[in-house]
C-alpha cells in the first residue's frame, strides 16, 4: 500500500470536486474492494475522498413509483428493505447470494457497482494484465480461465464483472444517478453504465474523472416472479460461475440477465423475447457471440441449464 492523504467530504458536489481536483484521487465508500486492491498496489490512489458523510444513505420513493437508493445504502440494508423485498425480490436475492454478512454490512450500492474483476492474473502483479497495466498483455488468455468471461470479451481482456447485485439491477432496468465537479447531474441506465473492454479494458464504466455516484433508481415494480440463481463450486462465499436473474410473468414471458459470464451484467433484450420458447432459445440468442475458452465453454451450457431450472420452477 502506498501512503495516501484522506479527507471526508461534506456534500456530493464537494466530493466530486475534491476528486476531480486532485490527480490520483479516488472515492472510498465501504472500502471492501478498494482497500484490498491498495494493499496489493493494484490501486495506488494518492488521495482518498470518503463519501460516508454525504447523507446518501436513504431509500426513498420516486414520483414515478419506483425507488431511489442512495449510494451509501449498505448492501445489507438494501437487501433487507421491506419495499425491495416485496417489489424487487430479485435484488434482495442477488445481494444475499454475494460475499458474506460482514462484507455486506460495509459494502455500498455504488461501491458494489464499481467493484473490480476477480480475474486471478489481475490480482498478481507479476503477471501481464491489460486492465491493471494497459498495454502489458493478458496472461489469462491461454492460461487458467475457468472463471472468466465467455461473451462481450475482447482480445485484450476476458475478465468478468463479478457483482451479483448489478445483474439484478440490470434485469430491473435500474439507472445510475451521478453528479460531477461542476454539480451537473445525469442518469445512466445500468445497461449502459459498464463498458465492454475492447482495446481499453482499464476503462470499465462511463464515469468521468471525479464523477460521483449519488444513487441508483429503480423504475416502478415490474411484478412477476423474481428469481436469482447463483451457481458456484461451493455453497456460499464464492463468486458466480454463472448466475441468472429473472423476472418471469405467469404467461412465461419476462426478462433475464446473466452474471459471471461477461465484463458487465449480460442482458440481451432480443433474448428476453425468446423466454416462452425455452431456455435454449434464450441462451442461443444471448450467447450468440460467445467466444469461450477451452476451460470455460461449460458456462454456456450451464447458463442454459440454470435458466431451464428457473423456467421449470416457474411453470410448476
Amino acid at each position: 500500500m502506498k501512503a495516501f492523504t484522506y479527507e471526508r467530504a461534506r456534500t456530493p458536489a464537494a466530493a466530486a470536486a475534491a476528486v476531480a481536483g486532485h490527480k490520483g484521487a479516488k472515492f472510498i465508500a465501504g472500502g471492501t474492494n478498494l482497500l484490498d486492491l491498495m494493499k496489493l498496489e493494484i490501486e495506488t490512489p494518492t488521495h482518498l475522498v470518503d463519501v460516508q458523510d454525504l447523507g446518501l444513505d436513504r431509500i426513498e420513493e420516486t414520483t414515478e413509483g419506483g425507488l431511489r437508493i442512495g449510494t451509501l445504502v449498505s448492501n445489507t440494508a438494501l437487501a433487507a428493505d421491506k419495499r425491495v423485498r416485496r417489489d424487487y425480490g430479485v435484488l434482495t436475492r442477488a445481494i444475499v447470494a454475494g460475499a458474506s454478512g460482514q462484507l455486506r454490512n460495509k459494502a455500498t450500492t455504488g461501491g458494489n457497482l464499481l467493484q473490480r474483476t476477480r480475474c486471478p492474473y489481475f490480482y498478481d502483479t507479476n503477471q501481464a494484465c491489460n486492465k491493471r497495466k494497459p498495454g502489458s498483455g493478458c496472461a489469462a488468455i491461454g492460461g487458467f480461465s475457468r472463471q472468466l468471461g465467455v461473451v462481450g470479451t475482447s482480445e485484450a481482456c476476458i475478465a468478468t464483472h463479478p457483482s451479483d447485485m448489478a445483474v439484478a439491477l440490470r434485469v430491473l432496468d435500474a439507472a445510475v444517478e451521478t453528479v460531477d465537479a461542476q454539480g451537473k447531474t445525469r442518469s445512466v441506465p445500468v445497461g449502459e453504465f459498464h463498458r465492454l473492454p475492447g482495446d481499453t479494458p482499464h476503462l470499465e464504466n462511463v464515469l468521468q474523472p471525479g464523477e460521483l455516484i449519488t444513487a441508483v433508481t429503480l423504475p416502478k415494480p415490474p411484478g412477476g416472479r423474481h428469481v436469482y440463481h447463483k451457481v458456484r463450486d461451493r455453497a456460499s462465499y464464492a463468486f458466480a460461475l454463472v448466475s441468472v436473474a429473472a423476472v418471469l410473468n405467469e404467461d412465461g414471458s419476462g426478462r433475464v440477465a446473466f452474471g459471471g459470464v461477461a465484463p458487465r451484467p449480460w442482458r440481451v433484450e432480443a433474448a428476453d423475447a425468446q423466454l416462452r420458447n425455452g431456455a435454449g432459445a434464450v441462451t442461443r440468442t444471448a450467447f450468440a457471440d460467445a467466444r469461450p475458452t477451452h476451460e470455460n465453454a461449460f458456462k454456456v451450457t450451464l447458463a442454459e441449464r440454470t435458466l431451464a431450472a428457473i423456467i421449470q420452477e416457474n411453470r410448476a
Binding site: M1, K2, A3, K39, L40, E41, R118, P120, Y121, Y123, D124, N126, Q127, A139, G142, G143, F144, R146, H229, V231, R232, D233, R234, A235, S236, Y237, A238, F239, L241, G278, A279, F298, T301, L302, E304, R305, T306, A308, A309, Q312, E313
Partner: protein
C-alpha cells in the same frame, strides 16, 4: 523405556480420565483470545521490527538485477536482505528448494529478499519498491507431459511385486483398468506461517508456528551454521498446519536474517497470496489402477501405479501405500514414479500417500463392485485380509475394517441405496449414496517427556510436543492425570519449547499415541520415585484419588514432594512390534450426495464415519479431528485444486478466494462412531492415530455417491460441475 512386548494391563486401563470426553484444557485461553500465536508474543527482548518477504516473480531462471536503492531510502526502512548481502546459509536436510533463493530461482514466489522496517505498512510498501529483473529459464510444469520421463524409486518407495500380477490380471474373469487424477492441493491452514526471531550474541531464538520443534531446531541450526544448543524454538500454540508446518520455512529464515541485519527482533507473517507458491503443497498424481477378480468377486490381481512430480531432489506422493495392505489378493504390483517439475516444492499434507491414493483406489473398488453386480460394502468385506498380503506371515495388530463397514452400513441405512445409478430423485435433485474404506498406517515415533511433582500436589508435564489444534494439551493432561491418580485440573502441561525433552511432534497422525506414550514412560518413573519417597513399594503402589496406596498404607501424593520437587524424565522408544505386526487404522465413510439435475452442483447431505483406531484417548477431541478431516475430504472431492499455469509455472489461484475450501453451508450433519478397541501391540496407551484416518477415503465416498446419483463416472478430482454437466439427463 522401550516398548517391545505387547502391553499387559497398566494404569491407563482404569480409564478414569483417559477415554473421557474431557473439554480442551486450553479451550478457554483460545476462546478468550489469551492463547498467543507466533506473531503475537510480547515476550521478546526489544520491540520487534516488521519483515516483508519478496517472492520470485518467475518460476525458473535467474535474478539479473535487484535494485534496492529506492526501497532503502523509504521511511522507516531498516534493512533489505537478499542472497547478495546475506550471510552464506547452509541448507537443512528436509526442504528441497532453498528457503532464500537468488540469483538462481527454483520456483515461483521463492523468497528472494526481506525488507525490514519500523512498521508492517512501511515494510510492505518498500518491498513493492524493490525492482527485480529476471532472465527466464525453461521450466517443466506439466505432470502429464513429464510423466514418460518419470523415474522409479528405492527404499520404502521402491516397486513391489507379489506373485504374477500380469498373468493373473490377464486371465481374470472381471477386469478394471482405469486412470485417475488428483490435483495439487494446499494445506490452507488458518494461521499463516509466522515467526518472531532475534539474536543474542550468536544465539538465535524464535517464536514460530511449527509442528515439529526438534526438526525445526535442527534445521535452523543447519541453515545458520550454529550448534543446535544455540537455537531456541518455541511454538506453544499453532493455528493449524496439516503438514505444511512440519518443516522449517522461509518465514523463520527471513525473520532471522532480518533480525541479524537490524540488530532487533523481527516479526514476519507470510501474506496469504505468497504462501501458496512459497511453501509446500500436496502434489498432483496420475494413478493407474488395475484390478482383476474371479466371478466370485475375490480379487486375484491388484496393481496400482502412481506418478507425481517434484523439484529435483524431492520425493514422490506415495499414493500406492494403502494398496499394499488394504485388500487380499495373491498377485500384486505397486509402482511409484517421480518426475522432475519446477513447480513449488511438493511435500506432506495430511495423510500423505493414503489421502490421494484412496481417492483413486476406492473409486476403482466401486467400479469393480459394479462390474461384478455386487454391493460395494459386500465386495470390500469379501476381500478383507487379516495379514499383510505382501508378507502373509505378518498379521495386523488389530484390524476391524469389516466391522466398520457393516456397522456403518446399518447405521447409515445403506440398504436404501439404489444399485443402478441415477435412479433416486428428490425434486430437482439426483440422490446417491457412496461408501469407501478408510485406511492409514499407524506410525510410532520416539517421544520424551519430563514430569514434575510439586508439594502442592500438581504434576507439570514438559515436552516439546505441539498442539496444532488437535487437543495434545488435553490428552497429555489426561495421561498424566490417569497415571498419577489425579484429576485433570491437577496437571499442568507445557508444550512446544525446544528446551523441553524432544517428543514425536505432530505429523503422520503419530502425535497422540507417541507423545502420550512418552508421558506414560516419564510418569512410570515419577510413580517409582514418589512411592520410594513415601516408603512404599513402587511395584505394588496404587495411585488414585490424589493418594498413593500400598498394602494398608496410604498417603497424599503431594506428600511425596514435601521435601522437594520430584522430577522424572523418560523417553519412549519402540522395539520391533511394528515389524512383526502391521499396525494400521481403519474406517468406513458413508456419504449421501445430491446433484442438481440442471446445474450439476453437488451438495453433500449426510456423512458418517465409523473408525477403528485403537483406544480413543478423548472421544471429544478425536471426534473433532474426524469431522474436520471429513470436511477436508469434501473439499478435496468437490472443490480444492491449485490451478497450474503450465506456461508460467505457478499456482494461479494463490489466495483463499481462489483456492476454495468448504464453508459451513457445504457441510451437513456428520456422524462419527469409534469402535471400542484397545490395541495392545502398538503402545502402552493401546491407542493409534485418528487425525488422518478421518480424511482417508472421504473423497472417494463422495465421488461414489455422486456417481450413484448421476450415473456419470468422473475420475478426475475435484468433481466440479463442469466435469459431468454435459452428461447429465437432458433438460426440457
Amino acid at each position: 523405556m522401550k516398548f517391545d512386548t505387547p502391553a499387559g494391563s497398566n494404569p491407563i486401563d482404569a480409564m478414569k480420565v483417559i477415554g473421557q470426553a474431557v473439554d480442551r484444557v486450553d479451550g478457554k485461553l483460545k476462546t478468550t483470545g489469551q492463547a498467543p500465536y507466533a506473531y503475537e508474543h510480547k515476550d521478546v527482548p526489544a520491540r520487534p521490527a516488521y519483515g516483508y518477504v519478496i517472492g520470485a516473480g518467475i518460476a525458473k531462471g535467474r535474478v539479473t538485477a535487484m535494485n534496492t536503492a529506492e526501497a532503502k531510502r523509504m521511511p522507516g526502512v531498516l534493512a533489505v536482505v537478499s542472497a547478495e548481502n546475506a550471510q552464506p546459509l547452509g541448507k537443512g536436510s528436509m526442504n528441497t528448494a532453498k528457503l532464500l533463493g537468488g540469483p538462481a530461482v527454483d520456483h515461483y514466489h521463492q523468497a528472494l529478499a526481506v525488507v525490514v522496517a519500523e512498521s508492517f505498512e512501511q515494510a510492505r510498501n518498500a518491498a513493492n519498491a524493490v525492482r527485480i529483473e529476471y532472465e527466464r529459464g525453461n521450466g517443466r510444469f506439466d505432470l502429464a507431459k513429464a510423466k514418460p520421463g518419470a523415474q522409479p524409486l528405492t527404499g520404502s518407495d521402491a516397486d513391489t511385486h507379489t506373485g504374477d500380477f500380469e498373468g493373473a490380471f490377464a486371465s481374470a474373469a472381471v477386469q478394471l483398468d482405469q486412470t485417475y487424477t488428483t490435483p495439487d492441493q494446499n494445506h490452507a491452514m488458518m494461521e499463516p506461517f509466522a515467526t518472531i526471531a532475534w539474536w543474542e550474541d550468536d544465539a538465535l531464538s524464535v517464536w514460530t508456528s511449527n509442528q515439529m520443534i526438534a526438526w525445526n531446531k535442527k534445521e535452523l541450526a543447519a541453515t545458520f551454521k550454529l550448534p543446535p544448543e544455540k537455537v531456541h524454538v518455541r511454538s506453544p500454540f499453532i493455528g493449524g498446519g496439516f503438514g505444511g508446518k512440519l518443516f522449517l520455512r522461509a518465514d523463520a529464515v527471513m525473520a532471522a536474517l532480518g533480525a541479524k541485519a537490524c540488530g532487533r527482533p523481527v516479526k514476519i507473517a507470510m501474506p496469504r497470496p505468497l504462501m501458496l507458491n512459497n511453501a509446500t503443497h500436496r502434489p498432483a498424481t496420475i494413478q493407474r489402477i488395475r484390478i482383476g477378480t474371479g466371478k466370485d468377486g475375490r480379487i486375484t490381481a491388484i496393481g496400482h501405479e502412481s506418478w507425481s512430480g517434484d523439484l529435483p531432489g524431492g520425493g514422490p506422493e506415495s499414493a500406492t501405500q494403502q494398496t499394499k495392505l488394504l485388500y487380499a489378493g495373491a498377485n500384486r504390483l505397486t509402482a511409484l514414479r517421480l518426475a522432475e517439475l519446477d513447480l513449488p516444492e511438493a511435500n506432506a499434507m495430511r495423510a500423505p500417500g493414503e489421502a490421494p491414493g484412496l481417492m483413486a483406489l476406492e473409486i476403482a473398488i466401486d467400479e469393480v463392485a459394479e462390474k461384478l453386480g455386487m454391493d460395494p460394502v459386500r465386495f470390500r468385506v469379501l476381500n478383507d485380509t487379516q495379514v499383510d498380503p505382501e508378507h502373509p506371515e505378518r498379521p495386523f495388530s488389530q484390524r476391524n475394517l469389516v466391522r466398520c463397514l457393516e456397522d456403518g452400513a446399518k447405521r447409515f441405512g445403506w440398504e436404501r441405496r439404489q444399485t443402478r445409478p441415477g435412479k433416486m430423485r428428490d425434486g430437482r435433485w439426483l440422490i446417491g449414496m457412496g461408501v469407501a474404506a478408510a485406511f492409514r498406517n499407524n506410525i510410532n515415533m520416539t517421544s520424551a517427556a519430563r514430569v514434575r511433582l510439586s508439594s502442592d500436589g500438581v504434576v507439570t508435564v514438559e515436552t516439546d510436543m505441539t498442539d496444532i489444534g488437535t487437543g495434545s494439551y488435553t490428552i497429555i493432561a489426561q495421561t498424566a492425570a490417569e497415571m498419577m491418580g489425579l484429576p485433570v485440573e491437577k496437571v499442568r502441561v507445557k508444550l512446544g519449547d525446544s528446551s523441553f525433552p524432544a517428543s514425536a511432534g505432530s505429523g503422520g497422525q503419530w502425535g497422540a499415541n507417541s507423545s502420550t506414550s512418552g508421558v506414560y514412560a516419564a510418569c512410570v518413573k515419577l510413580r517409582e520415585a514418589a512411592a520410594q519417597r513415601l516408603g512404599m513399594d513402587p511395584a505394588t503402589a496404587e495411585f488414585a484419588d490424589g493418594e498413593v496406596r500400598a498394602g494398608n498404607r496410604s498417603a497424599a501424593l503431594a506428600d511425596a514432594a514435601k521435601s522437594g520437587e520430584i522430577v522424572a524424565e523418560e523417553t519412549m522408544q519402540w522395539g520391533d512390534l511394528g515389524k512383526k505386526f502391521q499396525q494400521s487404522t481403519f474406517g468406513a465413510h458413508f456419504v449421501e450426495a445430491a446433484v442438481d439435475a440442471y446445474t450439476g452442483e453437488t451438495r453433500v447431505r449426510r456423512m458418517l464415519a465409523v473408525c477403528a483406531a485403537g483406544r480413543i484417548l478423548n472421544p471429544k477431541t478425536a471426534r473433532s479431528q474426524v469431522i474436520g478431516a471429513m470436511t477436508m475430504g469434501v473439499g478435496g472431492a468437490l472443490m480444492e485444486e491449485l490451478a497450474v499455469d503450465k506456461r508460467f509455472g505457478f499456482f494461479v489461484n494463490h489466495d483463499l478466494a481462489g483456492y476454495e475450501v468448504p464453508v459451513h453451508a457445504d457441510i451437513p450433519h456428520q456422524g462419527v462412531v469409534f469402535l471400542d478397541e484397545a490395541d495392545d501391540k502398538v503402545s502402552p496407551m493401546k491407542a493409534k492415530g485418528v487425525g488422518e484416518l478421518g480424511l482417508c477415503g472421504v473423497g472417494a465416498a463422495v465421488a461414489n455417491a455422486v456417481y450413484n446419483a448421476t450415473g456419470v463416472r468422473v475420475r478426475d478430482y475435484p468433481l466440479t460441475l463442469d466435469k459431468h454437466l454435459a452428461k447429465l439427463p437432458a433438460i426440457a
